[in-house]
Subunit: 207 residues, 2 copies
């Protein structure tokens, strides 16, 4: 399983011409790193006298960041599985009309999964950006730069998964599903650029 | 060694309250992912009839991306080593004047290394952004979204390592070294936001 792969082997596989792991898994890992760094800042803020006033808030954020990190870790694998299913579907026989129909349905069904995984990654990443704002503003000042890395990592994950959603919805024949996905994506993306810049600036300000 | 750590264990360690691995290693990995994805697009463009005109250029970019990826993989470890050296130096005894002098010198020397590693990461990441522009514009259209992930990953690596450079130069007493580092960093950062946006737009356009 991909989560058991070493960092070096993962990078080797990412660079190779094999289609997976690709950008989708990279997006999930960047989101996972964002969540992990939000958690790290919380862990280094909780139980500290100087940050007593935000202790409860940091505990809540830690709990949420850890849930998101677990989801994103799962998405590294789900992205590969969804992509492989799309590829297998494209490889189905298409000699007869019946085969063509089966193949087409298999492709469309696989593409829906391959849309839902990056959309979930985008959703989780946007939430990590929101959490990183709170830890950047209120977390332990000594590790505020880690909050800054969290926000740019989550932003990169969001922008990356947005590309996967666009690619896969582009090949969908279910226009209503595709439109709904793109509409949700646009809502998630709205304001993300500004949020990233603002949070990063707050971090630089508190360095 | 960190490069042999599994993705899941790495994320666990990143989230924990232990100071390393932290944002510096995350930056190096994001840069490494950017380099790997540039290489992936090159690998899927080389030897293709439709991309014959850019074959030589893609081979050159592949070679350079692989050198940068190797450097960035090394930086995951170097960042941890440099950070640990800073921490050890701060832990030196400071009872006598002689001890204070030794400790202060050790801290300053360690901080210089801890500045040079993220500065090298920023330099490499900026170069990956430049390479990602070429693969986004001329690489295999079928994997153009991976070029898009490459650019946002490299951008996240650049912005992350910039924070580490600022943190560590802030504690340096060698003002000339600190100023020189920040001046180089500012040159590297100049235009990075615009480049990232332009390359990402080019990717969306070619999807």
């Amino acid at each position: 399983m991909i989560e058991d792969t070493s960092l070096e082997v993962f990078l080797n596989e990412l660079a190779s011409k094999t289609p997976t792991p690709g950008g989708g898994s990279a997006a999930a890992i960047m989101g996972g790193m964002g969540a992990a760094l939000v958690a790290m800042v919380c862990n280094l803020t909780i139980n500290k006298k100087a940050y007593e006033a935000v202790d409860a808030e940091m505990r809540d954020i830690l709990q949420r960041a850890e849930v998101l990190r677990e989801q994103l870790t799962g998405m590294m694998r789900q992205d590969i599985e969804a992509f492989d299913r799309v590829m297998s579907a494209y490889g189905l026989p298409r000699e007869t009309e019946a085969e063509k129909a089966v193949r087409s349905q298999a492709i469309q069904s696989a593409l829906k999964d391959a849309t839902e995984v990056p959309l979930a990654c985008a959703r989780a990443s946007a939430e990590i950006i929101a959490l990183s704002r709170v830890v950047a503003e209120k977390g332990n000042k000594n590790v505020v730069s880690d909050a800054g890395v969290a926000v740019v990592a989550a932003y990169a994950a969001l922008k990356s998964s947005a590309l996967s959603v666009r690619v896969n919805t582009g090949a969908l024949s279910d226009v209503s599903f595709a439109t709904q996905s793109i509409t949700e994506l646009d809502v998630i993306l709205d304001g993300a650029d500004t949020a990233m810049r603002e949070i990063y600036q707050e971090v630089v300000h508190r360095l």
